[in-house]
């Protein structure tokens, strides 16, 4: 019987596993292989150079800068985005007070409207969002400085993307703005599956908003939060940070490398400088960082699973 069972499972898994191996695992192995060569990306010829690329990477000041920025992205972005999203979705779904004739557990007034507002940035492509904010950050005629002037703060006219100490934060703010809505929806869905009688009991016991949130919502939502955290961190290390940095601070990588992130650096090395092998080396470093990040979050976030 056992034998038959395995054949059954293998039969089902063979195709997806094969596809996965071909399109995911194999390219990874290849990239790691190319990181030991001097391949330019512009000609099929290359030779093995051993660990040269890795040695170069360790001496590369810009690589360390980009690593540092990527780590800031991976730590700060999920923290800010997810805290905001948790707060918003709690207020939308649970934070309201009972109104006559309404359900016991409800969101604040106008919550369905807020839902749309938060989710709206999600329908815009990240490229559009980045362009939009690049205009808003224009220190001469952009919206933000105009508002500052309008409210009498004409003397405060930051350069935003042109200032190395602000550029990275300005870029991150855009990512928060554009991704928070997704997590509001994700957490709202999670909160919807928490039984309402738990909240009713808490309310009867006189619990306030804060204790309801920390004693009931957060613990029961923990798994969703954790996976959201990993997902956001990976986005911050990969695609999203690349798009905003590439489009907004095309300098490239901001004034004095202040916004260079690892993915951008990979791209520049591969597609501008004709150093594809070195780019794959940085790619491997990025892979290690991403895996370490995911492992760390899963490890730190492990806790007893609550059943309800």
């Amino acid at each position: 019987m056992q034998h038959g069972k395995y054949r059954f499972i293998v039969g089902f898994l063979a195709l997806p596993l094969g596809l996965y191996a071909l399109f995911v695992v194999w390219p990874f192995i290849q990239s790691i292989y190319y990181s030991f060569t001097d391949w330019t990306g512009l000609s099929p010829e290359f030779k093995m150079v051993g660990l040269d690329n890795y040695r170069r990477m360790l001496d590369d000041e810009i690589f360390w800068k980009s690593l540092q920025h990527s780590l800031i992205f991976a730590l700060v972005l999920p923290l800010v985005t997810i805290s905001l999203a948790l707060f918003f979705s709690f207020m939308i779904n649970v934070g309201g007070r009972k109104r006559r004739g309404g359900p016991v557990v409800t969101g604040v007034r106008g919550s369905s409207f807020y839902k749309i507002v938060y989710f709206f940035p999600q329908v815009l492509s990240i490229a559009i969002v980045a362009l939009l904010f690049a205009f808003a950050y224009n220190p001469d005629s952009g919206a933000i400085n105009s508002i500052l002037r309008g409210i009498g703060l004409g003397s405060v006219q930051p350069l935003w993307l042109g200032d190395p100490s602000l550029a990275l934060w300005a870029v991150m703010a855009v990512l928060v703005w554009s991704t928070v809505g997704f997590f509001v929806v994700l957490f709202s869905a999670g909160m919807a599956s928490i039984p309402a009688d738990l909240y009713e009991a808490a309310l009867l016991d006189g619990a306030g908003r804060a204790s309801t949130f920390f004693r009931i919502t957060l613990p029961l939502l923990w798994d969703t939060v954790q996976s959201g955290w990993v997902y956001m961190g990976i986005l911050a290390l990969g695609a999203e940070s690349f798009a905003v940095v590439q489009i907004m601070t095309t300098g490239p990588g901001g004034p004095d490398y202040s916004t260079t992130v690892m993915v951008l650096y990979v791209y520049q090395k591969a597609f501008r400088d004709g150093q594809a092998a070195y780019a794959t080396t940085i790619g491997v470093a990025l892979l290690v960082v991403t895996l370490a990040f995911a492992a760390l979050v899963m490890r730190l976030g492990r806790r007893e699973r609550l059943e309800y």
Binding site: V24, P27, F28, Q30, S31, D38, W39, T40, G41, L42, S43, P44, F46, Q122, N138, P139, D140, S141, N145, Q157, L159, W160, G162, D163, L186, G190, S193, D223, T224, Q226, S227, G228, V230, Y231, I234, L235, G238, A239, T249, G251, P252, P255, D256, Q268, A270, F271, R272, D273, G274, Q275, A276, T280, G283, V284, L286, L287, T290, L291, A294, M298
Partner: protein, 486 residues
């Protein structure tokens, strides 16, 4: 991939299989380590330059490059500020001359992503306009023997006059720009760009001023403009590598061409030349005295050009493409003009009028192309007087063909560019950092050096020290191919 994960996550939060969800989203995220897998896909099919090249045709007076008149010719053009019409017109001539040949023409902005895999497979097209933001690194292409030597084209009779060689019809410096070291000519620059200080004659007139020739005059003009609420200068603050368009020829004017050559050759202490310091100090003074448009370091090239066209600033360092690029924001009565950079004073080594002009829009014929003769013949057609005039009248830019402006109405900027070239005579400089060492020029000297200095975050002395450090590092870096002025 955002939406895919969203679905997964929503399923997950409905209660089933959250662990799986986490694993899955981790896997999805890993795919998003984006370039890695793509890169590998490029390299895997190692090409061999097998002998399926087009056979040579018959060499005649009309066909000096012996093009095979039945072979297909493929031409990939960068679809940028100059559009694609001029190339389509030239392709039509090729098709008329070789009616049996099939021409495959395409225009794209994504030169590198389209063509990099084809170079890797050994099947590149026959002629490429390797330009734009996705320009492939010429140094690498040459270093890896991917380009064909264009000497046969240059030695062929010109399209208009069989008694003249193509090379004799070109503007001075064009052939040399296509060389790296030694004789082979790898690149044919088709456009001819005049770099310098761009301004509105109307705005200058309104201040009762002429274009300043010495730096004291420059400061005086800026002071006058400031009183009228106008900034003296602006520049592409996010891409400060536009500053060299007027700064480098100024350094050449003040200290002589040798200073620029030493910089290009990455010689030790090349940046420590007093001429460099004098010019950096001069530019820094613009910042110190508040003559640079407020907020400039945060503007990109389009935004700064727009502010300048709106009259918020008098001067902007730029290249002759600005006329086409900013056509829709430059007012009709603007009086667009370009000048050679202002010098320091009368002790400068070169006269006022010393200007940076050089080839733009680099065309290459890949060594592994099937029909290299066809690619070169297409270039020969484009370098004819008629095609050159067609280009100039359509896109407001000069070409490598020397002349070709008679009988066509020149736009104000173009006219002023031609006049500036005439005034310069032999005093045309051509710094090569931007085509030899892209990263050094743009990112290090431009953004990290000049950009920081003009934003007031580095003094000229600090900027020079930093830039010299970058240049020394580039000179030592064995992963970069190094070049020298011959």
């Amino acid at each position: 991939m955002g939406s895919t994960s969203a679905e997964n996550s929503n399923n997950g939060s409905a209660g089933v299989g959250r662990r799986d969800l986490i694993k899955r989203s981790a896997a999805l995220g890993l795919i998003s380590v984006p370039t890695m897998s793509f890169l590998s896909a490029c390299a895997s099919s190692g090409g061999d330059d097998s002998g399926d090249k087009a056979k040579a045709g018959k060499k005649t007076a009309k066909n000096p490059l012996a093009v095979n008149d039945t072979a297909q010719m493929e031409f990939v053009l960068f679809d940028g500020g100059f559009g694609k019409e001029y190339a389509e017109d030239a392709v039509k001539i090729y098709e008329t001359n070789f009616p049996k040949a099939k021409v495959k023409f395409s225009a794209t902005q994504k030169i590198q992503s389209t063509l990099q895999p084809r170079f890797n497979q050994g099947t590149p097209p026959d002629l490429i306009d390797n330009s734009g933001a996705e320009q492939m690194d010429m140094g690498v292409l040459v270093g890896k023997n991917q380009l064909a030597d264009l000497t046969p084209l240059l030695d062929a009779p010109s399209y208009d006059d069989p008694s003249k060689k193509v090379r004799d019809t070109l503007r001075p410096g064009i052939v040399e720009m296509g060389q790296f070291d030694g004789d082979p000519v790898w690149i044919m620059y088709y456009a001819y760009t005049v770099y310098g200080v761009w301004y509105s004659q109307k705005a200058l007139d309104s201040l009762d001023e002429q274009y300043p020739e010495t730096w004291d005059q420059m400061l005086a003009v800026c002071a006058k403009a400031k009183k009228k609420g106008m900034a003296g200068w602006t520049y592409a603050g996010k891409y400060p590598y536009y500053l060299p368009f007027s700064l480098y020829p100024m350094i050449g004017k003040v200290g002589g061409v040798e200073v620029l050559d030493a910089i290009d050759n990455l010689e030790p202490n090349a940046w420590k030349n007093p001429a460099v310091k004098a010019c950096f100090d001069a530019y820094y003074e613009l910042y110190k005295k508040g003559y640079v448009l407020k907020g400039t370091p945060g503007l990109d090239h389009i935004q700064s050009q727009t502010a300048w066209a709106q009259g918020k600033a008098l001067f902007i360092p730029n290249g002759s493409w600005v006329e086409n690029e900013s056509a829709n924001v430059i007012p009709k009565d603007f009086g667009l003009a370009v000048s050679a950079p202002t010098g320091i004073d009368s002790s400068d080594k070169m006269p006022f009028g010393t200007i940076w002009a050089s080839g733009g829009e680099p065309f290459i014929v890949p060594a592994k192309a099937k029909n290299t003769a066809g690619g070169m013949e297409q270039l020969r057609i484009m370098l004819s007087e008629a095609s050159s005039k067609n280009f100039t009248s359509k896109v407001k830019s000069l070409t490598a063909y020397n002349g070709g402006t008679d009988g066509i109405t020149l736009t104000p900027g173009l006219k002023s560019g031609v006049a500036a070239l005439e005034k310069a005579g032999d005093n045309v400089v051509n710094p090569r950092l931007q085509d030899w060492y892209v990263q050094l020029q743009k990112e290090q000297i431009g953004v990290a050096g000049l950009g920081e200095m003009m934003a007031g975050r580095l003094t000229p002395a600090e900027a020079i020290k930093k830039i010299q450090g970058f240049a020394d590092a580039a000179a030592k870096d064995s992963s970069i191919k190094h070049y020298k002025h011959q």
